[in-house]
Structures are given as structure tokens and as C-alpha cells.
Amino acid sequence: MSYGQGRTKVDALKEVDLAVNKGELLAIMGPSGSGKTTLLMILGLVTTPTKGQLILDGDNIYDGRTRDFQKLRREKIGFIFQFSNLIPFLTAEENIMLPMDLVGITGQRAHSRAAELLDYLEVTGRAGELPERLSGGEKQRVAIARALANSPAMILADEPTASLDTERGLSVMRLLRKLSREQGTAILVVTHDERMIGEVDRVLQLVDGRVVSDESQN
């Protein structure tokens, strides 16, 4: 997969070949400008690669057919952001129910699923709170619950520990590892924090848009 942009074409990604398995926790690392975010955008279906293929959950996305990327994102991909980016006017529970609402899961079914995720992520008591009343760690847990709400095939996490201290950052990474194993979800984490390497299954190193190393941690 490759991606170039602008009149004076700069290849942000060059021949990146990557396969991520279900239940795998992958860290994408590299210096600034290495193409981490570009890769995340392509995988998140918000940027189209100049050339190459993207196969998501067995489906070849750029095979020439017209596709509803919004629908694919709703159903197949979960997102976790650096600053949680919870919707400020929705409570913790409503933030978790939002992706379900977008795919038509509402009412008791959505409430039950949200309660289950809140319990799983140990933030049950904060269900009715607005994000502004949650701590940084609680926000990230709720954001993770939101990403999991529709049981997506893949979760993309953009620097999910950057705004947390080491202890809380490690806690989040352990949680992601637990999730990937128990839920069977492929989780790709873009990070520059090398302290988190020990918690992932595999580390992909990007430099100048090229994959320079792809190593399993086991």
C-alpha cells in the first residue's frame, strides 16, 4: 500500500505490506513524519491510498465497487483517541450507546450492552456522568468501551496512553491486550511510548513511510 499527496508528490507511505490477525495487539511506532497517522487514516477509511489493497475482515475495500465508508466504519472499526474525545454532551453510558444507536441497536438491548461494557471496564458507577466529571483514566476506559460497543473487527487506537501517566498508561495497554485476546479483536495502537512495547504482541517500526521492522514480542 502507498499514499502520496500534493502537487509535489511526497510518498507518505511506500509499499507498506501489513497483515493483522484477529486477537492481535499491534503497536505501530516511529518518529514524527514516519507515516503512522497516515497509515491510521487509511486503515480507518478516512483517506484513500494512492495504490494498493486494503482487506478488512475478508472484504477487499478498494476493489472498484462503490462502498459506504461511513457504514463500514460504524460496523467494522472502533476508534480510541489520544484525548478520549468523548462527546461532551453525552453521559458515559450514552457515549457507549452512540455507536450502537448508529447501527440501529437501541432501547434495552443497547442499555444492557453498555452496562456490560461499563462493568467489564470497571466504570459501572460512572454511567450517568458527563465526560467532564470523569478522570483521565475513566475517560479512556469509557472511550475503549465505546470502541468495543459494536464488536468491531478492528480497533484503531491513536496514542491512547499519551495523556496518561505511566501507571495509568500501562493499565490501559494491559486492558487493550486483555480485550484483544478475550474479544478476538485486532487492535492497532499508534504510539511513540516505548514503555508500552512490553504489553503488545507485535511492533511495527515505520521510518519515512517504510516498514523497517516488524517483530513479534513473544
Partner: protein, 429 residues
Amino acid sequence: MNLAFKDVRYHFFKFVSSTIGVSLLMMMVFTLGGIIRGVILDSSTIIGAAEADLWVVQKGWLGPFVEISRLPEDYYHGIQAMHGVAEASPLVMAWNHVEHPVGTSGLMMFMYRNAQFGTRTMVEPHWLDMARELRFLLIGYEPDHLGGPPMIVAGRHIEASHYEIVADVRTGLQIGESIRMRGFDYTVVGLTKNMVGFNADPVIYARLVDAQNILFEPDPDLLRNIRRRTGAQLGGAEAVAPRLMEPLARQASSVSENLHMINAIAVKVEPGVSVEEVANEIRHWEHLQVYTSAREVNIQLMGANRLILVQLSLFRLLLLIIAGVIIGLLTYTFTLDKIKDIAVLKLLGTQTRRIYSMIIQQAVLMGFLGTISGAALEFASEPYFPRRVSATVGDVEQMLVIITVISILASLVAVRRAMQVDPRIVLGT
């Protein structure tokens, strides 16, 4: 899950304070509409309440409510005798005034002072001194005939043969109070409501004969002067026709003292008879002009009040446009505050129409609530206006439709901004 309502719940104070601003603006829109209707009602209520189909005046004059024509009183007998006429009533009506202190409430005094302060640069000294005259439209009628007060809100109708009047409440007169006109005291025995002329001067009703005395009785000094001049002229004629001297002197005297004049004749047509047909018959009379009641109202609205109505309507339209612009700006500001949230929503795969719907719903909600609360404020404040202000539930219903359209159009700028939001802004930040 309704994102618009959730956002309003979160930004409750901001939304409510913005809506209050819109509601004050909408209150002004309703008030102007109410003032326009007030002018229309002021021009039509007396005519409607008289239950006359036709108004007969002197040839070449407009109706009795805008111009004072004069007819001999006995003309109405001739009209009464016409085919198809159920009733013809003589009426006297003219603007008049008496020296009377203007009663003012605290609020009225505040508004008066405010008007004085606000126009200081526009007026000469004393131009805005408090009025010392009570201006009114005097209507003389025959009790139990057309043209009298349609309702009595306090006291009773005129019963005595002289010196009793019924006044509109806006005169400020109280039952039992007397006013002096042409050397006689007239006592208020009843109060009526909403009976004003096209220029909002309140009406005072009197018996026909009393009104004739008040309006047509010449000043005694003037009368003496006329008699002296007539005598001098007849002196010249004596040499030519001495036998005609006595009848000529008698006639000249009776003309100068003739009180049997009226200003108009109100005509009620028999059921089943064409009003236009009767009007055409009356038009055959050489010295008479006839107007239907609808034409009478039209003469007042499109004659005397045309420019003020157009001006008020234009101002109302401008306020409505301003309300739309303000709703648009507020919605745009709300949207700018949510740019990052909109990006997140887009990234999560939220349907585009759902995001735009959130913005439009908020604009419509603000317009809707602003309109409802603006209408409530207007209804509550109506009694405190010095002239009749009359908004209706129909105005509110009509305005809700208009403001919904305006709100949707106004929110399109915000929607356009939301369309431009790139979901990628939340990645890598």
C-alpha cells in the same frame, strides 16, 4: 438518541439565554403585528359595531369617520322610506375636546418621560408638555337605533332625554364624572370599550339632540354678529321689495340657528336585499354620497392609515429578517463550538444527515421556543400599551410556520460549515 436535545441539555444556560434574546425579538415582531391589527381594528370596530350596511354622507365627501360632512336631518326619512331599507338612523359625529387632566398610571408616566428623553434632540421646548385636553370623537345617535355603543362594560346606556353620555374607557372618565361642553354639564352614565376613531381617539356617545347642540349651536357672539349683518343687508332690500322683508328676516334667522343638521345616515338593509342595489338607488339622489361599510373601513385604512400600516409592516419584516440572521449566527456559533465533536461523530460513522439534522433541529427549536415565549411576553404586555395592540393565536400559528422556515434557512450556513469538517482532524492530535 436525539443528539440535538442532548447538546441543548448540556449547553442549557447558553441555549436558554440565546433563546431569550430571540424571544425578545419575536416579542417585538408580534407587538408590531398587534399594533397593525390594532390600527385595523380601530378603523373597523365602530363601523362593525354600528351594524349598518351603508353610510350616507354629503355628495363629494368621504365617509363620516374621516371627513365631517353635513346633511339636513330630515333626509333620513326619505331614505327610511326607500324599498329594501330596514332602518335609517341619523348620526352626528365629529372630533371634539374638553379641558380635562389626562389621567396617567405610573407606567404611562414612565413611557411619557422616556419619550421626552428620547426625543430631546428632535423637539422644541414645550412641544412635549403633557396634554391638557381630552380629545374624543363625539357620536350623537338616537337610542335603540343604529350607531350607538354596542356594549356597556360598566354603568348603563343613556336613558335621560338630555345631558347623559357613554364614554369609552380610554377617555379615562369615570361613571358619575361630568364634563362641560357648550355650557352644559354632561354626566358619564356608562362605559364602553374599544370604541375609538381611526386615529385612536376614544368615542363619547350622546343623544343626537345633545350632540347637535354641542357641535352645531353657534357661538352667541357669532350669532349676534350674523343677525346684525343680515339686518343690514335686508335694510338694502327693503326699498325694492318691502313685502318680502318679514319672511326673509325670519328665514335668515332660522338658518343661522338651525340645529337640525347631521353628519351621516347609517342604513341597515332588509334581509335578502342586495346592499349594492340599495346603494345604487341612493346614488340617484343628487346631493348624497353612499359608501358600504367595507368601503368605509377601506377609506380609513388605505386613506388615513395607509402609510403608517406600510411602515409598520416593513419594520416588522425587517425585524423578522434580523431574527433569522440572529438565529443563523447563534446556530453557527453553536456549530463552531462542536467542530471537534462533529469530526468524532463523522469518524465513528455517524450518518451525515444525522449530523445536519442535529444542527437544524437546534435552530428550529430555538426559533420555536423563541416564538412561543415571545408571543407569551407580547400577550402579557398588551394591556400596558397606550394604543390597542391585538395579537392573536392565529398570528402565533402563522409565525411558527414562518420561523421554522427561517430557522432552517438560517441554519444552512452552519450546516455548510459542518459539511466542511474533516474527520481526520481528530487523528494524530
